[in-house]
């Protein structure tokens, strides 16, 4: 049984991505007791799947290492992975939260020695790589995964492979009998840092993501760039595994569109500017990036990156919302059709690869979850007094870049502290 101590002066943070980790750490480093829950087997969230951050082109795992070290050093934070909220009752300063914890089938005894992973043969789509790669049925989700503890895929349970995994573990760390647990916590304040998911590209039928192999999404490109990722750090065409040097980037793929996401996802323009540096990193002057855009929203000092990108001769900008994409049958090149808004010329442009700058949508449907939060038409949490002691943080509140998400998370930590401090004062 998972043993967790919580009181109405405890802050619950839901979501272990960068916003949730930040909110938890900032509150804990003010001396507050925090429980951080994450539905996946490890912390890190979406940023752990990114190759680099704009505009500095630094690696997300660098900041993640610091945050993990802060977590390891702080005994005020209790982390529960594979945990999800099922119900919340009560009010500000006194919530009762029901959680379910899915079985990991691996206990804290795990030393991540990798023996089970080596022994198991069954493979599944690797979620960390958006299914672009397979992983073993016993696995460490990624190298920086924390807790540094293996996971057995539930689909392995009952198979001979599961028994094999158990039999090679010298540390009695595998428990195939583990069951789903439910848990009720009493907490004072709740921070929702549930983040985002990429908009489902299949819905944008005109772009043919589901039928043209060389149309991929921006989040998939991030995985390709990872040296340990599905393509070993190269930009390879799914159709033939060849390097793609002439790449089209389509902005607002799913965003700023009444048919899909009405909102602007904010990050996609700057992310695409960053992606052109990936192309340059791979091919130098041999690469070619073409950006199809409505507005390049590189606000405040991101303008510098836009400025630099415009000076790069391998990058061109075309103001157009691409109408549709077809495929050249012989080359498998996607062909983009549309009208260049500047001058109104029609174009039919073939590229070796198309990257859809895919929009962000909230990862949790709060209405469906039945939590009493003020949710706007886009599905984001709006901080409203009626939310009581519950606060949104990061991309759960709006489409934000990492810097702004962390800013929002830091603010949410104070809002939660205000609630538990009131509880503390009231209880003397």
């Amino acid at each position: 049984m998972t043993d967790v101590v919580a009181t109405n002066q405890t802050i619950l943070v839901v979501g272990g991505g960068i916003s949730g980790m930040t909110a938890a750490l900032e509150a804990a480093e003010c001396g507050k007791d925090v429980i951080l829950i994450e539905k996946k087997p490890s912390l890190g969230g979406r940023v752990a799947q990114l190759y680099k951050y704009f505009p500095k082109m630094c690696h997300p795992t660098c900041g993640m290492e610091i945050n993990l070290r802060r977590i390891k050093a702080n005994q005020k934070i209790r982390i529960l992975t594979m945990a999800e909220v099922t119900e919340i009752t009560g009010d500000s300063g006194n919530y009762s939260v029901n959680l379910t914890i899915s079985p990991r089938y691996v206990t804290e005894n795990c030393t991540s020695c990798a023996a089970c992973g080596d022994a198991v043969e069954t493979e599944f789509d690797d979620e960390h790589n958006y299914g672009l790669k397979k992983r073993k049925g016993a696995y460490l989700p990624f190298l920086m995964a924390y807790p540094q503890q293996y996971v057995i895929d539930p689909r392995l349970i009952g198979t001979a492979d599961a028994d094999k995994a158990k039999s090679v573990c010298k540390y009695d760390a595998i428990n195939l009998e583990m069951q789903e647990e439910t848990l009720t916590l009493n907490v004072g304040a709740i921070i929702w840092a549930t983040g985002w998911k990429p908009f489902d590209a299949n819905k944008i039928q005109a772009y043919g993501y589901d039928r043209i192999p060389n149309v991929i999404t921006s989040v998939e490109l991030e995985r390709m760039m990872d040296p340990t990722g599905p393509t070993g750090g190269k930009i390879l065409r799914p159709s033939d595994g060849k390097e793609a040097k002439d790449i089209a980037f389509i902005q607002c793929a799913g965003s700023r569109d009444r048919n899909y996401l009405k909102h602007c996802s904010r990050i996609c323009c700057t992310a695409t500017l960053k992606h052109t540096t990936y192309v340059r990193e791979q091919y130098g002057d041999e690469g070619k990036s073409t950006i199809y855009y409505i507005d390049i929203r590189a606000i405040d000092r991101f303008e510098d990156l836009y400025h630099k990108t415009k000076a790069d001769k391998t990058v061109s900008f075309l103001k157009s919302k691409v109408a549709n994409i077809t495929q050249d049958k012989t080359t498998a090149n996607p062909i983009l059709h549309g009208v260049n808004t500047e001058g109104y010329q029609r174009y039919t442009n073939a590229h070796e690869l198309v990257v859809l700058a895919i929009g962000m949508e909230p990862s949790v449907d709060f209405k469906q979850l039945g939590v009493n939060l003020s949710i706007n038409e886009h599905g984001f949490i709006e901080n409203d007094p009626s939310n009581g002691g519950m606060f949104g943080a990061g991309v759960a509140t709006d489409a934000l870049d990492v810097n702004r998400a962390v800013q929002s998370a830091t603010a949410s930590a104070l809002r939660a502290i205000q609630v538990v401090n009131q509880v503390a004062t009231a209880e003397g």
Partner: protein, 751 residues
């Protein structure tokens, strides 16, 4: 108690360690060379039984200093957390068996590697002291907020709501700042349709009725000294010195001076205004028709010129985007449309930047209200005979347009009120004293009309204000850590930090309020702030040996060290971030930390068993930044990338903490090659301590001379910038060094 250090070594046999290494031999070496009293082995040290074994020895007073020889210091941190003992982690798993082939040939050198790591761990822990807070300062639950604009007011209120005290110091005679000049603000709630009340009156009312908040109007901070937990600020005039736990700087922005845009006729005719000018007109109209300043007639058509004097490389213009102006122009266009839908309101833009849900919805609502948007570049605004016309190139229709208009609004940018740029001051000083030159050659963009008056008047060795990042803003350099500050306990918030609108300023003020509270809480118990959060160690300084060379006071990335009248360093524990750059800088080695010192690393370096020259077993030393290079080395191990068994790796807090004595000691004790692995330096630095990696590179550039004097090849010491993702590159760097040594031969100083 525990005057006498009692050393114990605990060696794990799990994860294949005992299959690959001779554990009995390791235990023997811990006793013989490492001088530990206890050397125990365990099949599975990190399980509850292994942990209990160690804890029992601690509880029985058998050990005060322990070496855990198992996996990387980054692994199994929960299991190996023991209170009240000094701990060294020796990495036999990721650092030895996982990077070496399991072959008969490799067995001997792999064992030697492990044996040396045992020696090194024992040597390190022997010279550690368990850190404890110095108690330098007390706890003061009071935050100074400099600036009484929207950001400052929000911060003060949030601080008070959390139960702490706040004092606002506002330069002018009224609260509210620029936000108070706005007729309305952009909406903060869905459906983001209409401009809303600016909220300032309500905010001021809340501030004034809150007994935890003190307000000083017509006041400035004329002097700030001290550290988190004990900042003394002189509030002028007449208020005197008050003590604060931490500080928020919300000094806001100055609107760009539009008279610098003669091509847009600003100043030539009252019918060309900037955005604040339009707010004044809208306030005056108060929902009625907005009147033309020149003749008082109702404005029938208005043109908004976006990016006026900004996003431009022209001299005197701002190169950046101010972020809020597109939203603001749409809001202002709505003022006209809401009062009279027949007014023509056109926004001429190059990129319409209205991000997120709020931005796009507001844009769409602007379109629904009949605001027109044209992509174009305005070349000129001409004012003639009482008429104003806007000349622009319409980028959609690809034609030159001359548009007559009753009123033109220039969307000019924000200029940060950052005070004095300490970096420039320092650079000038360095050039004057010619102490160190070179690296600070990058051009600084001097922004016009930045007030040269200091905001905080810090009595700091490194200047009176917060260091600036780019374009005069005092932003953090870190994507993941927007509140990272180079002056511990002082947090910039609002448009002084980064151009921003009021919605973002709300979040920013609240976030800064949290950091300010955290800083005073940390100071109260002597804990370090991010990134070494919770660290209780702090620099210990031995004054007798100090030569007053000032390197530590100049090189501290956080301005934590002052100088007394005689030029001795004055450490301020609560300002210190524990990176050790001062320790690395000190030529006479009088600075150290309890648990990290010239001795802990130096003794570890010297403790290895050095084969003689004829053994053909070179020794390579790697000093690796613990934040990025060391994890990269770990991940090389996790992915079973092999590297030379001749290497000995020591993690360092920051490459800036590397004292050159370690290099010369290593060479003198027979190491053949030395590799320093730090973070990226330069403009896009990734060093978490800002300048540590840069300082190390600079110092190592000097070591070439020393090597040549010793008639040693300069290739023997190499410095690299390593990213945390470099798990392929780090083994290669090590192996390349091994190859280099094979080529140039062994260090002749072996004995």
């Amino acid at each position: 108690m525990a005057d006498k250090k009692k050393l114990g070594a605990y060696i794990c046999k799990g994860c294949g360690i005992s299959e690959r290494l001779d554990i009995d031999e390791l235990a023997k070496i811990a006793k013989s060379d490492g001088k530990v009293a206890i050397a125990k082995q365990h099949d599975f040290l990190c399980n509850s039984d292994g942990v209990k074994m160690i804890q029992a020895d601690i509880d029985a007073g058998e050990v005060s200093h322990i070496v855990i020889a198992a996996c990387s210091r980054r692994a199994k941190t929960d299991a190996f957390r023991f209170d009240n003992v000094a701990i060294a982690r020796t990495n036999l798993r990721e650092g030895v068996i996982w990077v070496r082939p399991d072959t008969e040939d490799a067995k001997e050198t792999t064992q030697e590697m492990a044996e040396d790591y045992i020696r090194m761990g024992c040597a390190e822990v022997k010279f550690m002291t368990l850190p404890s807070a110095s108690g330098e300062q007390g706890r003061v639950d009071h935050v100074l907020v400099v600036g009484g604009g929207f950001t400052g007011l929000t911060a003060a209120l949030e601080i008070a709501k959390a139960g702490y005290l706040a004092t606002i110091v506002e330069k002018t005679g009224a609260l509210g700042g620029t936000a108070a000049q706005l007729y309305k603000r952009t909406p903060v709630r869905s459906p983001f349709a209409d401009p809303q009340d600016n909220g300032i009156a309500d905010l001021i009312q809340q501030i004034e009725s809150n007994d935890k908040i003190t307000v000083h109007l017509n006041a400035t901070v004329s002097k700030t000294e001290g550290a988190p937990g004990r900042f003394n600020a002189d509030i002028s005039p007449d208020i005197g010195t008050k003590t604060f736990g931490s500080i928020i700087q919300a000094s806001g922005f100055t609107p760009y001076d539009a008279t610098q845009l003669p091509e847009f006729s600003y100043g030539k005719t009252p019918d060309v205004v900037d955005q604040l000018g339009l707010e004044a007109l809208a306030k005056e109209a108060n929902g009625g028709a907005i009147k033309r300043p020149s003749d008082g007639k109702e404005v029938k058509n208005v043109v908004f010129v976006q990016c006026a004097g900004q996003r431009s490389e022209k001299e005197g213009h701002l190169s950046y985007c101010s972020g809020h102006c597109c939203m603001t122009s749409v809001k202002q266009a709505m003022y006209f449309k809401d009062a009279n839908p027949t007014v023509d309101a056109m926004v001429i833009y190059t990129e319409l930047r209205m991000p997120g849900a709020a931005g796009e919805d507001f844009y769409r609502n602007g379109q629904d209200k009949g605001v027109t948007f044209t992509k174009g570049i305005v070349s000129e605004v001409v004012s003639e005979a009482g008429k104003v016309s806007v000349k622009f190139k319409d980028l959609i229709l690809n034609e030159e347009v001359d548009l007559e208009s009753d009123l033109v609004v220039l969307a000019t940018g924000m200029v940060a009120n950052s005070g004095i740029d300490s970096e420039i001051l320092l650079t000038e000083e360095d050039e004057k004293t010619e102490e160190k030159a070179e690296e600070k050659t990058e051009e600084k963009t001097i922004i016009p009309i930045v007030p040269a008056e200091s905001i905080l008047n810090l009595e700091y060795r490194q200047g009176p204000d917060l260091p600036q990042l780019v374009n005069g803003f005092t932003d953090s350099h870190f994507i993941c850590f927007p509140y990272e500050t180079r002056r511990t306990g002082i947090y910039a918030a609002g448009p002084v930090r980064r151009p921003m609108d009021m919605a973002q300023a709300t979040e920013d003020a609240t976030g800064a309020a949290l950091k300010a509270i955290q800083a005073l809480e940390n100071a109260g118990i002597g804990r370090a702030a991010h990134p070494r959060s919770g660290d209780l160690s702090f620099p210990i300084f031995r004054k007798e040996g100090c030569t007053q060379c000032k390197r530590c006071t100049v090189e501290c990335p956080f301005g934590a060290i002052n100088e007394d009248e005689k030029g001795y360093p004055q450490f301020n524990e609560a300002r210190c971030r524990r990176c050790g750059t001062c320790m690395g800088a000190c030529p006479v080695r009088v600075i150290s930390f309890e648990n990290y010192s010239v001795e802990t690393v130096g003794q570890a370096i010297k403790s290895v068993d050095m084969p003689d020259e004829f053994d053909e077993k070179p020794r390579l030393l790697v000093l690796a930044c613990e934040n990025d290079a060391y994890p990269a080395l770990d991940m090389a191990g996790m992915t079973r990338r092999e590297y030379s068994a001749f290497v000995r790796i020591i993690p360092v807090r920051c490459l800036g903490s590397v004292n050159t004595i370690w290099i010369s000691d290593a060479l003198n004790s027979g190491y053949d090659g030395i590799i320093l692995m730090g973070c990226q330096k330069g403009d896009d630095y990734q060093c978490h301590f800002v300048k540590g990696s840069e300082m190390a590179h600079y110092r190592m550039s000097k070591i070439g001379d020393t090597l040549q004097q010793l008639q040693l090849e300069t290739e023997r010491v190499q410095t690299y910038e390593i990213a945390i993702t470099d798990m392929e590159r780090v083994p290669k760097i090590i192996n390349d060094m091994a190859a280099t040594i094979e080529k140039i031969g062994m260090n002749p100083f072996k004995f």
